[in-house]
Amino acid sequence: MSENRPIIKKKRQPVSDRRKFILNMARGAGLAAMGGFIWSAYVDEVTASTLLLRPPGAINEDDFLKTCIKCGLCVIACPYDTLMLAKPGDNKPLGTPYFIPRDIPCYMCPDIPCVPVCPTGALDEKSVTTDGVLDINIAEMGLAVVDDESCIAFWGIQCDACYRACPILGEAITIEYSKNERTGKHAFMKPIVHSDACTGCGLCERACVTEKPAIFVLPRETAMGRAGDYYIKGWDKDDEKRLENASEIKTTTEISKESAVDSLNDSGDLY
């Protein structure tokens, strides 16, 4: 047994400095990679929320998340306590400003006090300025959407609460009249929102008389679809102008080398 001892001693030799250094570096890099992935996953999760309304003049959400320094100067500037900073537990991008119109909507101050105080440009003064003057009417905080299933005006009950509450009444929300076939002698007075004028202030959502509002503001990106460049309103002179500068893209595929009619009719050649 005693012959084995020297072998054991050899195995217990102190670790060389070089090995120690390499192992430590590997450990550091490994821990950094692990921490980095966890951290990235966390950041990705907390910034994923898209269903929130930003103050007027906010730049697009991706840029907003990197530019907003979360100082709360816009929150302090807001005279109606509309704006809040997202707290831990709100499940919104932490520390960034937002508002809930059903609680307190944006009252669309003409001097827009929340925008010029922004130190980083996350709230862009230019985007709410026309001809050198601040203009809250061109703000795009969101877009009001009507759920015609729960809106009582669509049932035939007379209600124009949202229409009356709208600060750009007659432009952002109009009332459309149509005949109520059920009674045969009444009219529907349906509120219609127009995306080109609606700022997303949420006064309509605040005013809505239903238990859960039938008109509510969503971020424009969520509320709106996109037709794409390939549909043109032929009856609209301005829209048709897009054709003048359009370039033609021709794609050639295996099938289009021969005409489609040939491939269908010359069935004998296929087999």
Partner: protein, 276 residues
């Protein structure tokens, strides 16, 4: 009374600064004061002078944001202040988390945790520089300010000024971590903002200076110091504390009964040394 003041004068001043900054920020949001508006990420003094967190701006830069002029001026003011004068003073004179970790440390000393756990710390104090580098890499890759969405400092401070939410949980986590897991765990090992200010304030003018002739080797300074490695010269050499990790908290100065530690200006210290 005089001795009490003598042995807690800087601690009282620090708490006064920390709390009054919080009160000023809180008053700006709650009662419309205009002395200091915003929070530690970015603020305005008297509605004119901008102040902005240079580390947050660095992350914004890494994330690819366009930096506005107001922000850059605010960053410049604070950078110059800490670079030339304050050193890492942010950590012990401004940051609200300091009060949490200081109380964890106080409890640790009172309960004699160090004797139970042993003095040897299981983690490197350089972790913060790794975290700092990592935060910039993640900011660049993910296109958001990585640490700002995680920072318990902002959570606590923003929480006190604008509403806390579950921010108290962040406070509790740090307190428990520092108390039970790692001594000076958050401020002395992990916090990348502390790491950032350690680098930025390395060459600042205000320094703690040690006079070896007066030292009686009682080591009270090393017991209270949150970054004890910076006091390597105690009892050995008359040197200023030059390491960037020193937070200028001055606890070492006030616990010293032998006048062996005191504040001085870096250049004067150098001149004295070469003059002698």
């Amino acid at each position: 009374m005089a001795t009490l003041w003598n042995s807690y004068r800087y601690l009282i001043l620090r708490r006064f600064t920390q709390v009054s900054l919080l009160v000023l920020y809180f008053g700006a949001n709650a009662w419309g004061w205009t002395i200091l508006m915003g929070n530690l990420s970015s603020s305005k003094v008297f509605e004119i002078i901008p102040l902005s967190d240079p580390y947050a701006a660095l992350q914004m830069l890494a994330a690819g944001a366009v930096l506005a002029a107001d922000l850059l001026i605010g960053v410049l003011i604070l950078t110059l202040f800490y670079f030339i004068i304050g050193g890492r003073a942010f950590c012990s004179w401004v940051c609200p988390v300091n009060m949490i970790t200081d109380s964890a440390n106080f409890l640790r000393r009172k309960l004699d945790f160090d004797r139970v756990q042993g003095i040897k710390q299981p983690a490197s104090r350089n972790i913060r520089y790794w975290v700092l580098a990592l935060s910039l890499i993640i900011s660049a890759v993910m296109g958001v300010t990585a640490f700002e969405f995680l920072s318990p400092i902002s959570m606590v401070h923003r929480g006190i000024v604008f509403g806390l939410g579950f921010g108290w949980a962040a406070m509790l986590i740090i307190f428990l971590f520092d108390l039970f897991v790692l001594k000076n765990g958050w401020c002395g090992h992990i916090c990348p903002l502390g790491g950032f200010y350690s680098i930025l304030g390395k060459f600042s003018l205000i320094r703690v200076h040690h006079t070896q002739e007066n030292c009686t080797l009682c080591m009270k300074c090393k017991v209270v110091c949150p970054e004890r490695q910076v006091l390597h010269m105690i009892g050995k050499e008359s040197l200023p504390v030059l390491m960037g990790e020193c937070t200028n908290c001055a606890r070492c100065i006030e616990v010293c009964d032998d006048d062996a530690l005191g504040f001085s200006i870096r250049n004067l210290v150098k001149n004295k040394k070469t003059g002698e």
